[in-house]
């Protein structure tokens, strides 16, 4: 049977025991004899599945349990409870065949040796992942084309800029053409151009190789550009699993009405809905109203005021996700 699901996560939980003590000398002495620990539930009963070839955004505020989950799925952490299958493997057994089929890219560090050019580390990766010379050359040429690596491969890694290093890390993490990619903040700290380049690259890589990608990011542009589906966790619990487009409908069924009035005309629009600050500087008032009442309110606005121009929009996705972090999303 061909598994069409790359990732199957079932009630996955991880509890850390964190040492805890009061400040002060007395407490320090007491903790020496009797150590107090506190259980912290980093991930709590999380379940989801991801189909082969899907790109899923894995979102949540800091400390939500995203990185812990990625570490469990890539085999670095043993869960406290629950199960996970990645390409049919149990990740934390860390079988060589499993490790050859996945990658975990975390921030700026990891795979490359600091003191030597990335090209040397890549040759080592070729041997470690048992890539034939032909495959190695082909993949490297492809990565070079997509990431525009060029001369940066031949400079010692420590002399590279943040963005250049991230490109090299991605190249090292993808050289073995993994079928499953776990990416933890792949664009963190990069400028807008570099972020856009990495996004284009990931999209193209996914198209060419049909790889499954689970990625976390604090940049909503990453998410909107790459992910049709998102999974949101908060305080270790699954909050939402579904389409990015459905989220706004489910979490906050609201619309934004933009109203332009003749200049100099003062108006109190707060009686129509929640007045939001308008960052576009186009002189419009922005009124947030329940989606169900948008027609009625629009009609009232048009009859009450000398409206110049009127637009009806969905709220920005950042705001929607933000509010999804903080409340229970109805399924």
């Amino acid at each position: 049977m061909i598994e069409t699901e790359s990732l199957q996560v079932q009630s996955l939980s991880k509890t850390y025991q964190v040492p805890e003590r009061e400040p002060g000398l007395g407490a320090a002495v007491r903790s020496f004899f009797k150590r107090k620990t506190k259980d912290v539930e980093a991930v709590n009963q999380v379940s989801f599945t991801v189909r082969s070839g899907e790109i899923v955004g894995f979102l949540g505020p800091n400390g939500a349990g995203k990185t812990t989950t990625l570490k469990m799925l890539s085999g670095l952490l043993h869960p406290t409870a629950g199960s996970a299958r990645v390409l049919g493997f149990t990740p934390w057994e860390r079988k060589p065949d499993f490790l050859r089929a996945i990658t975990l890219v975390m921030g700026q560090r990891n795979r490359l040796s600091w003191d030597i050019p990335a090209a040397d580390s890549l040759l080592l990766h070729q041997a470690i992942y048992r890539l034939s010379d032909a495959d190695y050359k082909k993949t490297l040429a492809e990565l070079d084309e997509l990431l525009e690596l060029g001369p940066i491969l031949r400079k010692p890694v420590r002399t590279l800029s943040l963005g250049e290093r991230m490109k090299c890390e991605l190249a090292a993490g993808l050289l073995h053409r993994p079928q499953v990619l776990f990416l933890d903040e792949p664009t963190i700290g990069l400028d807008l151009t570099a972020q856009a380049r990495i996004r284009t690259f990931l999209k193209e890589y996914n198209r060419r190789t049909q790889a499954t990608i689970l990625l976390t990011s604090h940049y909503m542009a990453d998410v909107t550009a790459l992910c049709e589906r998102i999974v949101i966790i908060h305080h270790g619990k699954l909050k939402y699993d579904g389409g990015l487009n459905d989220l706004s409908r489910r979490v906050a069924p609201v619309k934004l009405i933009g109203v332009a009035l003749p200049s100099g005309q003062p108006a109190d629009l707060s009686r129509y809905g929640t007045l939001l600050p308008n960052e576009n500087n186009d002189g419009k008032y922005l009124v947030q109203v329940p989606a169900a009442e948008v027609a009625a309110i629009t009609a009232r606005l048009l009859s009450d005021l000398p409206v110049h121009d009127l637009t009806i929009e969905d709220p920005p996705i950042e705001a929607v996700i933000e509010s999804a972090f903080n409340e229970q999303v109805p399924a």
Binding site: L77, L124, Q126, A127, I128
Partner: protein, 265 residues
């Protein structure tokens, strides 16, 4: 597999070249004590005729052979790995489908040896000119026999060193433990003085312990000072301690990684 070692070698060699100044300082530091002992003991023995039956030439050949053997059998795993366990960067290694220690650290050790030998050999030749030792007891056969002895000696040192390093999975004080280990090695391996001039009790204990297999045994073997039955017994001990150290390492590594992945890599 061979290609992995070859590429690892290349990377480690290149990395260590980046730190050649550090390396040189380390090497000078490491050379000081044997050279001081060499000078002190040859002078005393020269003045007294002999000490416990050891002549000035015995001391000279012992310490000069020690310089080479010590380089070949010593292990630097703790400096390569303990910090990675402590700061969590071991994670990156655990993601790769090879054993981080038996491939990476091992090759790094060997690259380090090769590089230090480059400096050591000229120094060694100069010392030979200065002290004019008589190496006539050395035979080709003994040198060939010393090859497995040195290799197993390094294997033992490597697995003990790696096991001590793995204690870092449980405590941050692993360097103190390493200091303790170093003290034991100094006492029982013949590193500071030949075991012949140690108290009989220590000599008796030392002959069963693995530490003399790292230094004293290979040195005496090369210098042609050991009867065949002692050579045979020590080679057998080499194999036994090698297997024991490897098993110890396997056990502590497995449990350590389990713990690493339980508390948060």
């Amino acid at each position: 597999m061979l290609r992995i070692y070859q590429r690892l070698w290349h990377v480690n060699w290149a990395e260590q070249w980046q730190y050649r100044a550090n390396l040189l300082m380390y090497l000078l530091f490491w050379l000081v004590s044997p050279i001081v002992y060499l000078a002190v003991w040859t002078t005393i023995a020269g003045a007294q005729g002999s000490i416990n039956g050891l002549t000035a030439n015995d001391f000279a050949t012992y310490y000069l052979t020690l310089l080479i053997v010590d380089n070949l059998t010593s292990d630097i795993t703790i400096h390569l790995l303990a910090y990675k366990i402590q700061d969590g960067t071991l994670s990156g290694e655990l993601l790769k489908p090879i054993h981080p220690i038996i491939t990476g650290t091992l090759t790094n050790n060997l690259a380090f040896k090769a590089l230090t030998l480059l400096v050591l050999i000229p120094v060694w030749l100069v010392l030979c000119l200065l002290f004019q030792p008589d190496f006539s007891g050395v035979t080709l056969f003994n040198v060939l026999l010393a090859v497995p002895a040195v290799a197993l000696g390094f294997g033992i040192a490597f697995f003990i060193g790696a096991s001590i390093t793995c204690v870092a999975f449980w405590t941050t004080r692993v360097y103190s433990l390493n200091e303790l280990y170093y003290a034991v090695v100094v006492l029982f391996s013949g590193q500071f003085v030949p075991l012949d001039i140690m108290p009989p009790l220590i000599q008796n204990i030392a002959q069963y312990l693995p530490f003399q297999l790292l230094k004293y045994f290979p040195i005496q073997l090369i210098l042609g000072k050991l009867p065949p039955e002692v050579i045979a017994r020590n080679l057998a001990l080499d194999v036994i301690w090698f297997v024991a150290a490897a098993l110890l390492f396997r056990w502590i590594w497995r449990n350590g990684v389990k713990r690493f992945s339980a508390v948060g890599a």
